[in-house]
């Protein structure tokens, strides 16, 4: 979902392009261009790559080809930024939106995806490395990336066995969202979530079509760890899910349409979707559950067999620009991991409780674990719940 750019962001995409064109035509000085677009700071990071960067498309980027295949999550980019990359480099971006990390893993395992860049979540990376599906990054080709500016808590999983396989994109939480006009009881925990589902909100709840979050939520409601792979605890979680199934509106990771149409009153929710929904419908309340949940970070990575490697590096580098990151965040509603980008966020977003929740709210949250994703029992529990 792309929304128009306006208001209190550093610079809009259109404005940026206008300035870039003016600079390219020689109407304004380089100093003016860097000042207006805010690229000045970015330049310092880009170092020597810069002088040639703005002197014309072909020279600056070399021949990157005309195509880049990019696999990511729904509602996770500002289309204007992708268009801008295409305008600057001539590389057209084909975006595939996925519903779960398992689906991405399945596609990569099967091979021949043709993907150049994809967006894995923290707990998948060690699996990808073990399966030899992603490549170590040459950080010298990503001058916009600044390791020191990234919060180690979120950036950590990028490094496996001392090698860097990806660069961070955003971080966030997994909680739930409810429509406070329809659900008056103000649920605060996963236990409340399932109680309301089987009570006052019967027929109006959505759970994800994703074992990690759906089973994780059920486990938390029962007082267990979000990451549990204990057979007995998973059996209890399965029983809870199967019992609640007749009361569900849907099992889908595409929950915004249902929440927006008013059919669904409550849904498991990633916080960026929470921001997007809240922006449009004020009665939507995003909740970080008191009995646990997930905290996560996403990354940019390059598959082992990426066909357009140069374009892949150019694209990741482009997306690492702090200004681009800030502009992305203004649209998708997830917090950047990069302090340079956070500093550029307008105050309203920098202090937004959904994007940057208070530390004590996040005490109970867990990072998903690698074995949580690949555990065969969890996979089978989810599949049985869906076909129950």
């Amino acid at each position: 979902m792309s929304k128009s750019n306006d208001g209190n962001k550093p610079i809009s995409a259109t404005k940026f392009m206008q300035e870039l064109r003016r600079y390219q035509k020689g109407s304004v000085s380089r100093r003016h261009f860097l000042g207006v677009t805010g690229l000045g700071t970015a330049m310092a990071v880009m170092g020597t790559a810069v002088p040639s960067l703005w002197s014309g498309k072909a020279q600056a980027f070399g021949d990157l080809g005309d195509r880049l295949i990019f696999s990511t999550w729904p509602n996770y980019h500002d289309q204007a930024n992708l268009d801008e990359f295409t305008a600057m480099t001539g590389v057209n971006i084909q975006v595939n939106a996925f519903g779960s990390n398992e689906e991405m893993l399945a596609k990569l395992q099967a091979g021949g995806t043709g993907w150049d860049v994809f967006v894995p979540t923290n707990y998948t990376i060690s699996n990808y490395v073990a399966l030899d599906l992603i490549q170590e990054l040459d950080l010298s080709r990503l001058p916009n990336y600044d390791g020191a500016a990234n919060n180690a808590k979120f950036a950590g999983p990028a490094t496996v066995n001392g090698k860097v396989y990806c660069v961070p994109k955003n971080w966030g939480t997994t909680g739930f969202i409810f429509n406070s006009k329809k659900i008056k009881s103000g649920p605060k925990s996963w236990k409340d979530f399932f109680d309301v589902t089987m009570g006052a909100g019967s027929g109006h709840t959505i759970v994800h079509d994703y074992q990690l979050t759906t089973i994780g939520g059920a486990l938390c409601a029962l007082g267990y760890s979000f990451n549990s792979i204990d057979a007995k605890e998973l059996a209890e979680a399965e029983a809870l899910l199967v019992k609640s199934k007749p009361h569900l509106f849907a099992i889908t990771s595409d929950y915004q349409p249902g929440m927006r149409s008013g059919d669904a009153w409550m849904s498991i929710c990633w916080n960026g979707d929470g921001t997007q929904l809240k922006n449009d419908i004020p009665e939507m309340d995003y909740v970080i559950a008191t009995d646990g949940g997930e905290i996560w970070s996403d990354f940019y990575a390059i598959p082992k067999d990426a066909p357009h490697l140069d374009a892949a590096y150019a694209f990741i580098n482009f997306m690492q620009d702090p200004y681009i990151q800030a502009r992305e965040a203004a649209v998708h509603g997830y917090a950047p991991t990069d302090s340079r980008a956070i500093a550029l966020q307008p105050d309203s977003l920098g202090s937004d409780p959904i994007l940057h929740p208070a530390a004590d709210l996040m005490n109970g949250l867990e990072f998903g674990a690698a074995q949580t994703l690949t555990d065969p029992i969890r996979a089978e529990v989810m599949a049985r719940f869906k076909s129950a």
């Binding site: 689906e103 893993l105 399945a106 073990a130 079509d209 349409p257 059919d263 065969p376 869906k386 076909s387």
Partner: protein, 287 residues
């Protein structure tokens, strides 16, 4: 004589070769792979890990509900499509003015120009809370839930598969000998009797073909139940997508596929035997 026979045989073989290669590479070999996988085990992080076990087949009852859903909704959807398609085909073949016929036929095909995915997604909004239910609220009928029900899936099926049913029936009605209808009425047959005893029997080959096309495709359907059933109306096709793309249990997915293929073979051969028997004596072929 002998020589030309021989060269004929070579020619036949040469002509059949491309089809045979295609058939073996694209159908037989993949089926063998699926069969072999179905006796294997799931690898630690998903996929296939070899071995020989009957475990996957023993686990089939855990997907009973998906088989049941498919085996009830697929025939129901086929029947419903037939009931909607027959009058339309009848009208197109026998009633409509010649000059409009072509344009109306094209209109039946036009939806095929857009992806089924997009068209089915549109139904989410038509059947969702702000669609038909909110219209019903205007006339005082409240609390109607359409989306994510078996009914919604049936609507999607009829919508998506209608052209596949209309065309075979249209073709057999189109070539129906009109003089038979005149003869029937000359001999005192009422319109209803003529329809029941002449039109319907003569359109049976089209009906049989249409039903077969729709039914076979429906047995593997996953998109419509996923979108309009909200993951709650679960077909065997959805179970398969899940097993290959989510839980990455290829061996179990293969076992479910093999079972589905066997069920289809049995159902379709029973069906063909039935329709062939009722068609004996007529020279029209089934397909």
């Amino acid at each position: 004589m002998k020589v030309s026979n021989k060269s004929n045989r070579w020619l036949t073989a040469a002509l059949l070769a491309p089809t045979s290669v295609w058939f073996v590479l694209m159908l037989i070999l993949p089926l063998i792979v699926i069969l072999v996988f179905s006796f294997g085990e799931r690898a630690a992080v998903g996929g296939y890990a070899g071995g020989f076990t009957l475990e996957q087949y023993a686990n089939l009852p855990s997907r009973l509900k998906a088989f049941q859903n498919t085996m009830t909704i697929a025939p129901a959807g086929t029947l419903l499509s037939l009931l909607v398609a027959y009058p339309l085909a009848y009208y197109l073949a026998l009633r409509v003015d010649r000059k409009y016929k072509l344009i109306l036929l094209v209109l039946v095909i036009v939806p095929f120009w857009t992806s089924l995915l997009v068209r089915t997604y549109a139904w989410i909004f038509i059947l969702g809370g702000r669609g038909i239910p909110s219209l019903l609220e205007l006339i005082g009928i409240e609390g109607v839930r359409l989306i994510n029900t078996p009914g919604a899936v049936l609507v999607g099926i009829v919508y998506g598969y209608l052209p596949l049913m209309v065309f075979p029936i249209f073709v057999s009605l189109e070539k129906l000998d009109k003089s038979l209808l005149e003869a029937s009425s000359d001999l005192g047959g009422s319109p209803l009797k003529t329809f029941m005893q002449i039109t319907i029997p003569l359109s049976m080959p089209g009906v049989a073909t249409g039903c077969m096309l729709v039914f076979i495709l429906l047995m593997g359907e996953f998109l419509i139940p996923a979108f309009l059933g909200g993951g709650k109306v679960f077909f065997i096709g959805n179970a398969l997508v899940d097993l290959f793309l989510q839980s990455r249990n290829w061996p179990f997915g293969a076992a479910v596929s093999v079972t589905l293929v066997v069920i289809m073979l049995i159902t379709v051969s029973l069906y063909m035997r039935m329709t062939l028997r009722s068609n004996t004596g007529r020279d029209e072929s089934l397909m």
